[in-house]
Amino acid sequence: MKALKISYKALAAILLFYALFAGFLWNVPELPSLGESIRNLYYHVGMWFSMIAMLCISLVSSLSYLKTQKEQTDILANQSVMLALVFGLLGILTGMIWAKVTWGNWWINDPKLNGAAVTLLCYLAYQVLRGSIRDTSLKARISAVYNILAFAMMVVFMMVLPRTGTGSIHPGQGGNPALDPGQLDAGMRWVFYPAVVGWILLSIWMLELSVRFEKLKSLKNETH
């Protein structure tokens, strides 16, 4: 188990350094609208995947808390939302840079972009909700219920709404090319997939650390 823990952390470091060097140095398709900014795919999308992974862990933890009432699952749910916010914010920042290069603006009125912003606000509200309740078990129960609702809203705002109505100009939405077979360059896949795995492993490592730290804190509070 210890070897597994060390190996996934080492793998995260190897994959992210590989994504950094290969991402900047390897050839990419020459597309006039994207130019060299296409390399942002390895970082921007990886960060969003990490955010989704954290939110999935958080959802499962909240469901588990409602079933078992174990404090550990509440800590896991809270910390994974915190990390999802960090990766989501990084995803938004890298996306804004990409938008400026390709669309000419830092932000455009697009269902996908607005949905991502609303999702982050929903999870910020989760943190505000937690901060407003003092009773520990009540806080855990109410925030677990809210977290399940927030996940459903994330699915609606980020995955359903951008695909309906007038559609979005964001890749992957409204018929725009993205990651499907034949759409993403085969050479880029050699960097993209390791990068995504690297970002997700990094987020898991950070989650593990923050959960261990929170457990230590609650242990310290119990002894005082």
Binding site: F17, F24, L219
Partner: protein, 39 residues
């Protein structure tokens, strides 16, 4: 491609940031492990 000084400096900056992040995480990991053992 590495002969381009701008690209080289961008890669170096990001590599330093990434190395700093991993150094921080490893240090934090070891510190938490040490504190957990003490408890």
């Amino acid at each position: 491609m590495l002969s381009d000084p701008t690209l080289l400096s961008v890669i170096i900056v990001f590599a330093v940031i990434l190395a700093g992040l991993f150094a921080f995480l490893i240090a934090l990991d070891l510190r938490i492990r040490k504190l957990s053992r003490r408890k």
